[in-house]
Point group: C2
Chain length 312, copies 2
């Protein structure tokens, strides 16, 4: 039997693509994944990738007219499907629907709109997000009335100040990507290993968190210690990997200490990463509340969908 859905929600990232069939109430009825992220596609390929992934749904829906598809993420970047120009800070996330941009899908039986990202243009403080604005709108739906700092952990983490559906400010830290680059492409590759969770990794994480929280200003010095500790203290790859990840996250959290306030801070992201951020925040006395990232994405896309189509 073919899949059924009222509309289709898409999170089109740099490396991967996630697609959900959504019912009228804004709940997912199926999910599909593909490794066809924006970075691997030419603009003209986007509609075909989507058509392939939704072939059964489109065959079924064909008789009922065009299917609505709503996309957030990197598909709206300049080198993506079609550019969805950034909203400026402070941004009313209630206006994401109105600012969404139609994407060309010639000959396809679906209609696509892409959600814009948000940027800060202020010289010396430039910043950008694409995809997180939708998750943040989702947070405002899942936590009605929430005002405060939200942390999205990831390859690039985002510290965002939310007041209801209003995004006041945010900043991006490329901590996760730096961990990957330093682990694979510097002298630290001789010391840090694959993901080896265990007591020695935990010990390394604790040492790294402590060092990073205490001296975030000495990051490039403290990073080298992941090599020196292997050479002179016989630390293994499990300890060194833990140390390096704890150090980077600890330093990032310490750098944002003044903005964090008392919490509780909603934290979104993969468990592996949020665990580190939550441990760092706990060490400085800040409570956190985990928010399921997919739930936030879908709540956000459903809210944008309602903004666009509520009047139909």
């Amino acid at each position: 039997m073919a899949a059924k859905a009222d509309w289709v929600a898409v999170d089109w990232g740099t490396s991967n693509l996630r697609v959900w069939g959504m019912d009228e109430a804004g709940r997912p009825v199926f999910e599909r994944l593909a490794d066809r992220g924006m970075a691997r596609l030419a603009p003209g390929e986007f509609p075909f990738v989507l058509a392939d992934l939704l072939a059964d749904l489109l065959a079924d829906a064909g008789a009922m007219g065009a299917l609505d598809v709503l996309v957030c993420g990197m598909a709206g970047a300049r080198q993506g499907w079609v550019e969805a120009p950034y909203l400026d800070l402070p941004a009313d996330l209630g206006a994401l629907g109105r600012a969404s941009v139609p994407a060309p899908a010639p000959g396809q039986s679906f209609r696509v709109r892409i959600v814009p990202g948000v940027c800060r243009r202020e010289a010396g403080r430039e910043d950008v997000m694409r995809g997180e604005e939708t998750q943040l709108l989702g947070v405002s739906v899942l936590r009605p009335g929430f005002a405060g700092l939200v942390l999205k952990a990831g390859t690039h983490s985002k510290w965002a100040r939310l007041e209801g559906a209003r995004l006041i400010d945010f900043s991006t830290a490329m901590t996760g990507e730096l961990f990957e680059a330093a682990s694979a492409h510097t002298v630290l590759r001789h010391s840090v290993g694959g993901e080896v969770m265990g007591p020695l990794t935990e010990e390394g994480i604790a040492a790294g968190l402590e060092a990073g929280l205490e001296r975030p200003d000495l990051l490039t010095t403290l990073m080298f210690r992941a090599r020196a500790a292997a050479l002179v203290s016989e630390r293994g790859p499990d300890w060194c990997s833990g140390y390096l990840s704890g150090l980077l996250v600890g330093a990032e959290v310490a750098g944002h200490r003044d903005e964090i306030g008392m919490g509780p801070v909603p934290v979104l992201g993969a468990e592996r990463l949020t665990r580190l951020y939550r441990a760092a925040l706990k060490r400085i006395g800040v409570e956190t509340q985990p928010v399921e990232a997919t739930e936030a994405t879908l709540a956000g896309l459903a809210a944008v969908h309602k903004q666009i189509y509520a009047t139909r």
Copy 2:
């Protein structure tokens, strides 16, 4: 005519190898370079690489008995020619000769000793150097009576506290290597370019130095700005490269501010890099004195040579 030398000085790094023929007064009479660094060699290959590079000299010296070769750098690492165990901090650099280690060179008409590195074993503050200890001894020869902080800029920079020929303390920052890894293997690769010196690069360097000196604790956040500034402020690769290098160096200098004192700080390293460190130090009111790095290496190797062979 074959080259002549009283002995041979070698700086055997990770990527490259530099060899000098030295006269009796400890002055270089010729220099040779090869891209046969430690990282590319198995232990047994070291003597053959050296024999190749010195073939003419050895042919000439053959009648006079074995030629003395003194090596500093990574050839003394565990995975190098033969391990020359680290001296511990605080280290008397006047003892480098006594602590040097003979390296096997079966069937060759030269005798080799390798200068040890220096390490700090204190748990949580581990650090290592190999090669810089010899340069630092050289600084103590070139600047008799100097006591204070010395900066060696490089892929891994060293901040060393020297009192005459006594190395009191040091720390390593992997800032240069992080610049390379971030430029080539993160999202910043889309923004930063090759070495394009010019007014826009200078403007980027100034902006980066200012940001790094002011907020060294926000390094992974400020790094991302090299991407965001390209996206929303149309900054080109020249500006972004300058910004990233200025930022990293500025943050490193700010992190060491408390140890730096009033200077003047002798600064060794390639011109491209020392220029950045000197500009950063100048911005915080610290004077610097450039020291030619090769001169320091040779003065150091000559001093170690004297320590070993003075009694012959």
